[in-house]
Symmetry: C2
Subunit: 202 residues, 2 copies
């Protein structure tokens, strides 16, 4: 029987040890009966190409990989700001429109509003409407959500909550406890037996 | 004849005058023969709902609106960091998987790498591999791209470049010159005649 394939989206592709993290994720996928498919594998074949051409080649390979997968598991840990990596957000939207179930975790366990409040030193401005806004006067979503409501809707619309598991800052992009909890949710979704027990960090 | 419908994605939904900006965008859409569809219109019908339920209702309405549109026009202006709003990124991915052509503009005309370099005061760390990385040791894409390569690929894969039009900081989220340039590209894509001339800021 061919294993169900899960596309592994997340900013961990930008880690110095991205290939090792991808391998660790694939190993965990295997333990739950899945085949993990990482975008890291699509970066190898671009040597010698002009930069922009390399980007478009990786893009096309990533889209193809998502189409060829049965599901998507995303790392929504905030990246360069209070929200998820936009490439990951793109891939979630892409998979969602294809009808693939989405699973997601974040290694920072606050709502978007709580994170913005901490960042602003508890001095968020409030509009007459009651909405909070940031220093650019842009409204901060106040929906008890981990991130932008489109990301939350895509995951919850697939039948599972976003797994929120706070980690130490040093493990923010490498801790795989939340990732493994997503695999359990995915296995339950697809009704696979759990083939092995394993959890932890890189 | 029914006008072709364009979904208007972007962080301008978070502006204090979001409804006015959405109306200005719709008016410009009309001038080019399109019907503009704004997610702002999906926020009205949530009064009295628990927060999280309101979020999921807006999410579902936005996805439905994208499905009912022929195209998507995104504002990729950096939002709370060096990259586009993740909700916008999600919606681009969703529309792309449905086969809708994507048009996009940004009111900050630098590559992602240039923005990160400015932010770091020209002191970016370089890896032995030649890749640049940020303070979290995460690689910075160096592909001559305005943002994450998935967003760039989605727009260029639809046949148009990302419109980059630098504006004054005060007009960062309201300037509509780049938006109108996208409408011209969309009109050309769909081979519509231009029905009126208009450009400028709110």
């Amino acid at each position: 029987m061919t294993a169900l394939r899960i596309y592994l989206a997340g900013p961990d592709v930008f880690l110095p040890n991205a290939a090792a993290v991808a391998e660790a994720k694939k190993t965990l996928c295997g333990a739950y009966g899945f085949e993990g498919v990482s975008p890291v594998d699509n970066e190898a074949d671009t040597a010698g190409l002009p930069k922009h051409e390399a980007a478009l080649k990786i893009f096309a390979a990533n889209e193809r990989a998502i189409r060829n997968c049965d599901s998507l598991l995303a790392n929504l840990t905030p990246f360069r700001g209070p929200s998820a990596d936009p490439g990951t957000a793109y891939e979630i939207g892409f998979a969602r429109a294809l009808g693939r179930p989405i699973f997601a975790y974040t290694n920072v366990a606050d709502s978007l509003l709580e994170r913005m409040r901490l960042q602003a030193g508890n001095r968020l401005v409030r509009r007459a409407s009651g909405q909070y806004e940031d220093a650019d006067h842009m409204a901060i979503e106040d929906f008890d959500c981990a991130d932008n409501l489109m990301l939350v809707g895509a995951v919850e619309g697939s039948g599972s909550p976003i797994v929120m598991h706070a980690t130490a800052p040093s493990g923010r992009y490498t801790d795989l406890v939340g990732f493994e909890m997503c695999l359990k949710l995915a296995a339950s979704h697809f009704k696979l037996g759990r083939r092995a027990a394993s959890a932890g960090n890189l």
